[in-house]
Symmetry: D2
Subunit: 135 residues, 4 copies
């Protein structure tokens, strides 16, 4: 199983009055992790969209262990752990140095622009098979 890494600098606008990154920002970072993992296989999500493929998040689960602070330089590990005909599952670990700040997973469904479920296109299937046995 291959792992993609993304570096994230915590933005001021992502932080809230508790002086920590707001918990909704993590979902944005995980999406960046997925984009970079695809890019590492030469696949552009922007191109997929232009070809009529949508990947919709159908499930999100996050455990927040320690807060991320403004200006922190974080390291996000993104793993594609499972792919079926219509869905892809990723897992995430978010690190600041050796501290694990959060663990998470998401499930994406492959859709037409009108929102109908479709099979993963060949380029996504190849991407998934390079990293995980399809279910």
């Amino acid at each position: 199983m291959r792992t993609g890494e993304t570096t994230i600098r915590v933005r001021y606008s992502e932080c809230d009055p508790m002086n920590v990154a707001h918990h909704s920002a993590y979902a944005v970072w995980f999406e960046m992790g997925r984009t970079e993992l695809l890019r590492g296989d030469g696949v552009s999500y922007a191109d997929l969209e232009r070809a009529g493929v949508r990947l919709a998040v159908v499930e999100l689960n996050v455990k927040y262990r320690r807060p991320a602070l403004y200006d922190d330089l974080l390291r996000l590990e993104t793993r594609l752990v499972e792919a079926s005909f219509v869905k892809i599952r990723h897992e995430y670990d978010l690190w600041r140095g050796r501290e694990k700040l959060a663990v998470a997973n998401t499930t994406l469904a492959c859709l037409t622009p009108e929102g109908r479920a479709i099979e993963l296109p060949p380029v996504l299937r190849a991407h998934a098979e390079g990293q995980a046995r399809p279910a």
Copy 2:
């Protein structure tokens, strides 16, 4: 178990190129639901913060069933389902008319401004006990 209701108009800036509300926006809406549930008991989260109490999200789980669209008028049901000495658990159902768009739950931990876990203050305990048996 009491239920709070919050009306949410989907903002243009919350929608993405798939023409649907971005999945990270839901975490913001759930937070609005918690704030309104507190307000219904005469408790202001802004006052709690001024008194040195922080409620940090330590877990978030969302299942997205159908997309929310720009300008949709949504109804969010928020339930406080469990409270222990240091944590509070909520459940959420998000509706557009009779369509259930998403179900979710969160766990909050009570912290000092420095991030140390503390017991729920009396006003929060009373709020929790009015709606759920403490664990």
Copy 3:
């Protein structure tokens, strides 16, 4: 010149470590003001988009006088002050009670989905003429 009013509750996620609403949130609120002003004339921006009309912000100017705080209930006044064949100009005043928190203006251009400038469609022209003399 008619004025539309929108009520805005400041969200926790819109606030930053200075304990005030982040300055980028105001642009989102002004957009809500424009949507509500249109709705007051029976025009849905969502319908306009489905009909192939885009309104792109080409200029934004904001003066921030006093901070908006978490949970504040604000009142936004939105005025359509000028319309030409292809552009619409709005002005905004943001209030908390009798305190004026910000003044702003925006200019929108009417575009095709591909980004080419086009004349305002009749429904937008009627909306504009009801509130301002076209330039």
Copy 4:
């Protein structure tokens, strides 16, 4: 006058149903530009905040010329153009390759945590004087 450069990858969540970056995202990017310009002089805005200094945006003016698209790699030029006893003015040019997408400027005021205007602290004054003649 020195210029700082920041590279920005447009995030999916920053894009709206027009398939372009939402105009509110630019304010976030300009803030990143200011942070990086400070960092280039060895000044951390996070440290300034811990020392009790706040820099509040009191004015924002943006002209949007061409849209930024999802996954675009943009280059932001940030210039500190003027500093008085209590305010700092920056100018911005946002580029995609040789296309200028937007020009903007902001004015920041130096405040105490309670929101009272104060003189720029020495470290900020040195930063400003290195790049612009104080007004």
